[in-house]
C-alpha cells in the first residue's frame, strides 16, 4: 500500500467512514508497519486537538439584534460596533422607503414637512385636536416594538399637552425634555406657552396612546391614536 492510500484509509477511519473490509485492511497494515502506526497516531492526535477546540458562545445580544431587525426595528448596538444589521434591515425595508417617501410627498397636510417620520416605520394614525385659540396635530410612527409620537401644538394661549398610555403594556422611553421616570401612572403632561412647539416622544410596547389638549382643568379636545 502506498503512502497516499494509507493516509486516505487512516483519515477515513478517523471520520468513521471505513467499510468492514477497509477496516480489516487498515488493522492489518497497522499491525505490520510501525511507520503506519506513527502516522495513524499523528492523525488521531490532530483529530483530538481539533475536536478539543472549544465552541465559542455568540455575543449575548446577537439574537435580540437579529429579532429586532427582522421585526422591523433595529436594536441599539454598543458604541463603536458596526451596523451590518442596520444595513441589512435597511435593505429589507427598502421598499418601505419608497412607500414612505411617496407618502410624505403626496400628503397635502399642512404639517407634513415638519413631522417627518422614520423611513423604516409604517405611517401610523394621525390625530388633529382643535379648540378656540389652540390646535394640535399628532402622528404615531411605529417600528416594531418602538413607537415614536410626534406632536405639534400651536396656541394663542398657554395650554397643556397630556399624553396618556397604559403603563402595563407601553413604556415611555423619553422625549420632550422628559425622562422615563417623569411618566406618572401612564400620564405625561407638558406645558406649552403661546406660540408653536414641536415635540417627540419615544415609547416601546403595543398599547394605544390618547392625547388631550388642556387649559388648566379644562379639556379643550381629546382623542386616541391608533398606534397599536
Amino acid at each position: 500500500m502506498d503512502r497516499q492510500a494509507l493516509e486516505e484509509l487512516i483519515q477515513a477511519d478517523i471520520d468513521g467512514a471505513l467499510s468492514s473490509p477497509e477496516h480489516a485492511e487498515l488493522a492489518r497494515v497497522l499491525m505490520q508497519d510501525p511507520e503506519a502506526r506513527r502516522l495513524h497516531d499523528e492523525y488521531r492526535r490532530l483529530d483530538r486537538v481539533l475536536r478539543g477546540i472549544p465552541k465559542a458562545e455568540p455575543p449575548p445580544e446577537l439574537r435580540a439584534e437579529v429579532l429586532a431587525a427582522t421585526s422591523g426595528a433595529v436594536a441599539a448596538r454598543p458604541a463603536g460596533a458596526r451596523w451590518s444589521a442596520w444595513r441589512v434591515a435597511a435593505s429589507v425595508l427598502g421598499g418601505l422607503l419608497v412607500v414612505g417617501l411617496a407618502y410624505l410627498l403626496l400628503d397635502a397636510r399642512e404639517y407634513r414637512n415638519e413631522l417627518q417620520g422614520s423611513v423604516i416605520a409604517t405611517p401610523g394614525e394621525r390625530l388633529d385636536l382643535r379648540a378656540e385659540g389652540a390646535e394640535m396635530q399628532a402622528r404615531a410612527l411605529r417600528s416594531g416594538e418602538q413607537l415614536r409620537l410626534e406632536v405639534r401644538v400651536s396656541a394663542a394661549r398657554p395650554v397643556e399637552v397630556v399624553v396618556n398610555f397604559d403603563p402595563t403594556v407601553t413604556t415611555f422611553l423619553g422625549g420632550a425634555d422628559l425622562a422615563p421616570q417623569d411618566a406618572q401612572a401612564g400620564r405625561l403632561a407638558i406645558a406649552a406657552e403661546p406660540g408653536s412647539r414641536q415635540m417627540t416622544f419615544q415609547f416601546s410596547g403595543h398599547g394605544r396612546v390618547s392625547l388631550q389638549l388642556r387649559a388648566g382643568d379644562q379639556v379643550l379636545d381629546e382623542g386616541i391614536l391608533r398606534a397599536d
Binding site: 493516509e7 486516505e8 483519515q11 477515513a12 471520520d15 467512514a17 499523528e42 492523525y43 492526535r45 490532530l46 486537538v49 481539533l50 475536536r51 478539543g52 477546540i53 465552541k55 465559542a56 458562545e57 455568540p58 455575543p59 446577537l62 439574537r63 439584534e65 437579529v66 429579532l67 431587525a69 427582522t70 421585526s71 460596533a81 458596526r82 451590518s84 444589521a85 441589512v88 434591515a89 429589507v92
Partner: protein, 179 residues
C-alpha cells in the same frame, strides 16, 4: 436539531408566527456564529456575518426548499457570507505550507494541548478558504462528507479530497506531544 422540527418552524414562520423564527435563531445562532468565527477568526466579523445570515434567511425563507435540510441551507449561507467577507476585505491567505511558516520554533517543538490547539487554530486560519471550510464544517458543526457536500454544493468525493489535503497540511503543524 431534528429537521422535521425545523421544517415545522419554517412553515410556522411563513404563516406569520414570528416566534418560530426566534426559535430557529436560538437553535442555530451558536453553530452559525462558530462557522463564521472559524472562517474569519475575528469576533466582530463573525457577528456581522451571523446577523447577515439570519436576516437573509428571514428575507429568503419563502425560497427555502424543504426537501433539503434547514441546516444545510443556513450553513451554506454562513460559509458563503464568510467567503464574501474574506474577499471584500482582501484577507485570503495562501496555503499554510507555502506562505506562513508556523509561529514559534516550528512543528517539532514540544507544546501542551492548549498550545497545540492554538497552533492548529492559527494553521486553520492560514488554510485556503476551500480547505478551511471543510475543516470548519467537520470540526465545528460535526458534518459528515455527504452533509458537507450538500452545504458546499460539491460531491462527497471532493469533500473527502479537500479534507485529506487540509489534514495533511495541519498535521505538519502539529507539535510533538509533551512526554
Amino acid at each position: 436539531m431534528g429537521d422535521s422540527v425545523d421544517a415545522a418552524r419554517v412553515r410556522a414562520c411563513l404563516g406569520g408566527d414570528s416566534r418560530a423564527f426566534g426559535e430557529l435563531v436560538e437553535a442555530y445562532e451558536k453553530p452559525v456564529y462558530n462557522v463564521a468565527l472559524r472562517m474569519l477568526r475575528n469576533v466582530e466579523d463573525a457577528r456581522d456575518v451571523a446577523q447577515t445570515v439570519f436576516l437573509k434567511a428571514y428575507q429568503g425563507l419563502a425560497s427555502y426548499d424543504p426537501q433539503y435540510k434547514f441546516y444545510s441551507w443556513i450553513y451554506r449561507m454562513a460559509i458563503n457570507e464568510s467567503l464574501n467577507m474574506l474577499r471584500s476585505r482582501g484577507r485570503e491567505a495562501g496555503p499554510v505550507d507555502e506562505s506562513h511558516p508556523a509561529d514559534g520554533d516550528g512543528p517539532s517543538e514540544t507544546l501542551d494541548e492548549d498550545q497545540a490547539r492554538e497552533r492548529i487554530l492559527a494553521a486553520v486560519d492560514r488554510l485556503k478558504p476551500e480547505y478551511r471550510a471543510v475543516v470548519v464544517l467537520r470540526y465545528f458543526v460535526d458534518r459528515d462528507y455527504e452533509e458537507m457536500g450538500q452545504i458546499l454544493g460539491i460531491d462527497a468525493k471532493t469533500v473527502k479530497s479537500r479534507l485529506y489535503t487540509a489534514r495533511q497540511l495541519l498535521k505538519d503543524q502539529l507539535p510533538r506531544e509533551v512526554p
